[in-house]
């Protein structure tokens, strides 16, 4: 759709008076006022905003319409006559361009309402002698009902919507609006205004870590800042996890917990041992609490890929497994995860953790590395863990048992987390390249782990489904086919491990890591 022009009107202006003026002066047809509301949506992590889009659902007397709009020029990318509130995920929308776009942008994330505005709108049309509309003008007022139920006006405006192939008509109107009515077009600020009015800030949540540290900072202060950031991520996702809005809340929550545990484990000389021990135990509990639901989420997220990997004739027979996974995920969530996150143990952990993070730094800390510059500590620890990864990886032969690969996977994770915590201390290009290399190895180990866990779980599911009477011979056959798929996947990624590791341990890469992390003479604080 063509780019509209927006003209601001004064707050005191009466739309109806403008309507009369414009209809008479520009010879436009107009309809009676229409009252509707518009709700803006995005994912929790602002994926649409990051892509320069906003999703708007307009609800009026003639039904609802949902539009994906380009924020920069207000042109409509895709639209559909549906109420998006009826669809939790993009995949539940009817097959359409809008759905395809949203699925690509949002992936597994659910849509959340950001802000709702009340709209009063007059539509004025310029028609030709045949009764064909050549351009539309909209007189609009937007207001928001605040927490106290009071209606607050945000903006009154005139919007000129050109139609494709009728540029001249739009240009003529634009000229007349400027000359006869002294109206000047501005950039559209409605979305930004609406967010501000609702106390929201676009892009205020991202799952990636970006912590700005200076190498000379005291290590305990720097690590606390990292931990505070992780704690903020946990708290931000908590409500979404409890409400089970989408799988990504738990994913981000869990990653923050794992990063916290990793920091407490790898940087143990930065904090007093007694304090550490208590928190390590509590965060380990939180990690295991979230494990089951996450495993089931992963299974469900990959379900369609798995389904399509088995022979076509068996695919529909796999559906009872999906239903079972949903049931089990729901049960785990409502019976275990959600009650525990509402419970006292978690609440206490949060209180004590907050107190620990807020406490003033000790003047003469007992922990050995606490007062050292974080630059040195980061160098030293990262190098140690990197050496460990190399050693563990080199020890793996084609006959090594699975747990050895899992151990290596965990070490890689520790390394990755340290590199991410202290990213700001290193040259951006160097650290990014090193993370990329590590990620390739991690992907291989992650795929291996997923397949291994899923094979193990599948056998248990079969038994449980049989007990619940959901296991037919046909489903059994489909699950056997899935088992075969997972096993061949497991073998394939296992076979790829050696070459992946060789790449990671190559001389170029060793030089890269050495250059970044090798402790120099004065830095050797071990």
């Amino acid at each position: 759709m063509q780019k509209p022009s927006i003209y601001p009107l004064l707050r005191a202006d009466k739309l109806d008076r403008w309507r009369h003026r414009l209809s008479n002066d520009l010879k436009l047809d107009s309809d009676a006022a229409q009252r509707c509301e518009v709700t803006y949506y995005d994912s929790f992590d602002w994926r649409l905003y990051a892509a320069g889009k906003s999703l708007q659902c307009l609800r009026g007397p003639h039904g609802a319409e949902t539009r994906l709009v380009d924020i920069s020029d207000q042109s409509v990318t895709a639209s559909l006559a549906v109420d998006v509130a009826d669809a939790r995920f993009a995949s539940s929308l009817p097959d359409s361009a809008l759905r395809a776009r949203l699925e690509r942008l949002l992936e597994m994330r659910t849509l959340l309402p950001l802000v709702t505005l009340k709209v009063v709108r007059y539509c004025l049309r310029q028609e030709d002698a045949e009764g064909k509309t050549r351009a539309r003008l909209y007189l609009e007022s937007f207001s928001r009902v605040d927490g106290t139920g009071k209606r607050r006006l945000l903006q009154k405006r005139l919007r000129l919507q050109p139609l494709r192939g009728y540029q001249k008509a739009a240009d003529g109107l634009r000229r007349k609006l400027a000359q006869r009515h002294q109206l000047e077009a501005i950039d559209d600020q409605l979305f930004a205004q609406a967010l501000t009015a609702a106390g929201k800030q676009a892009g205020d949540y991202s799952s990636s870590l970006a912590i700005d540290l200076q190498p000379g900072m005291r290590a305990d202060a720097a690590v606390r800042r990292v931990l505070s950031e992780l704690f903020a991520t946990m708290k931000a996702n908590e409500a979404g996890v409890i409400a089970d809005l989408d799988s990504e809340f738990l994913h981000d929550f869990r990653v923050a917990v794992r990063r916290t545990r990793s920091a407490l484990g790898e940087l143990k000389r930065v904090f007093p041992p007694a304090t550490l021990q208590r928190f390590r135990r509590e965060f380990a509990w939180l990690g295991s609490l979230t494990g089951n639901v996450r495993d089931l989420d992963v299974y469900l997220l990959k379900f369609d890929i798995y389904k399509n990997a088995i022979p076509a004739g068996l695919r529909e027979d796999l559906e009872p497994l999906r239903a079972f996974l949903h049931y089990k995920q729901h049960a785990e969530h409502t019976q275990q995860l959600a009650p525990q996150l509402r419970g006292s143990r978690y609440r206490k952990l949060k209180q004590q953790w907050q107190r620990f993070l807020d406490a003033p730094l000790a003047k003469r800390p007992t922990a050995r590395d606490a007062a050292k510059p974080v630059g040195l500590v980061a160098h030293h620890r990262t190098w140690r863990v990197y050496k460990r990864v190399l050693k563990e990886g080199a020890a793996i032969t084609p006959d090594s048992p699975h747990p050895e690969l899992h151990e290596l996977r965990k070490s890689c994770k520790r390394l990755r987390y340290l590199m991410e915590f202290f990213q700001s201390l290193y040259p951006p290009r160097g650290i990014r390249a090193a993370i990329k290399e590590l990620k390739q190895l991690q992907d291989n180990l992650g795929d291996f782990q997923d397949a291994d866990v899923q094979i193990g779980a599948l056998k248990g599911f079969a038994m449980e489904m049989r007990r619940r009477g959901e296991y037919t011979a046909a489903t059994g056959k489909a699950m056997d086919a899935l088992l075969a798929v997972l096993e061949s996947r497991l073998h394939r990624v296992r076979a790829e491990f050696e070459s992946r590791f060789e790449l990671f341990a190559s001389d170029t890469n060793r030089a890269r890591f050495k250059h970044l992390f090798h402790p120099r003479e004065e830095a050797d604080i071990a």
Binding site: E65, A78, S79, L80, A81, V82, P94, D95, S96, A97, L98, R99, D128, E130, G131, K132, T133, L163, R164, G165, Y166
Partner: protein, 253 residues
């Protein structure tokens, strides 16, 4: 983009009504849809109240002086656009003959629009000529409105044979019954006992109805002014049947 040509060698069988109404339903369902009124009579343009004229005439399009993109007009309905007719289309055969590779000129013209529209409906003039060959080369699906009479079936057979003999293996021919009058025993007999090439026809047929004829007076798609009528329902049902077949065609392509 899926290109659907509403085509029949015969005239007055409901081609334009099908193109306009089905395109309207496609757009209502969320698809960006374009109708190209290829008939010099300009009936589709008339229904959308758009002047049957393009800048520079068809000459400028076929001489590569103007892109199709420049002559597209928005209709009064969301997501639905039109390339209007032009009286010069009556000479399209002659124009095409002067081109290099005259058989695929149309296909070349619509190529740049592929990423913008999900459906392109070609409302074709009745005839079988070089223009038809262009249409067959450009279209994915040939939607053939067919009145259930002996002569119409014979024409359909001719069309089938022509497509089979030519190099149009990519083309799916879908006939459908149009202007069906169940008071006539011949209509009833043919519609109820479909076989051979008619097996591909959707189960839904379009009845002979005055509401459809009123499109000329209302100058709007049927659904906008007679939503509850039998004929409007028939178009909706038929679109429900056709859409998955068209989408499957795209995936196969």
């Amino acid at each position: 983009m899926i290109t659907v040509a509403c085509y029949n060698i015969k005239g007055g069988v409901g081609k334009t009504a099908a193109a306009v109404n089905l395109a309207y339903l496609a757009a209502q369902g969320g698809a960006n849809t374009l109708v190209w009124d290829l008939d010099p009579q300009g009936a589709a343009s008339f229904y959308f109240r758009i002047k049957p004229r393009i800048k520079g005439g068809s000459f400028s399009l076929f001489q590569r002086k103007r892109q199709l993109d420049d002559v597209i007009k928005a209709t009064d309905y969301p997501r639905l656009d039109l390339v209007p007719a032009d009286f010069s289309y009556r000479n399209m055969d002659l124009l095409l003959e002067q081109q290099r590779k005259p058989g695929t000129r149309l296909k070349k013209l619509i190529k740049p629009l592929r990423s913008e529209y999900h459906f392109l409906f070609l409302d074709c003039a009745p005839s079988i000529s070089l223009v038809s060959e262009n249409i067959f080369a450009a279209a994915d699906v040939l939607l053939v409105p067919t009145i259930p009479t002996t002569l119409s079936l014979r024409t359909l057979k001719q069309l089938h044979d022509f497509c089979a003999a030519g190099d149009y293996a990519h083309l799916t021919v879908i006939p459908f019954f149009s202007m069906v009058d169940r008071r006539k025993s011949l209509h009833r007999e043919i519609v109820d006992n479909r076989g051979g090439i008619l097996e591909a026809a959707p189960r839904t047929y379009i009845p002979y109805a005055s509401e459809v004829e009123q499109m000329g007076m209302r100058r709007a798609p049927l659904d906008t002014y007679a939503h509850a009528s039998w004929a409007a329902r028939a178009y909706r049902d038929m679109w429900q049947e056709l859409q998955p077949r068209l989408l499957a065609r795209r995936r196969a392509g």
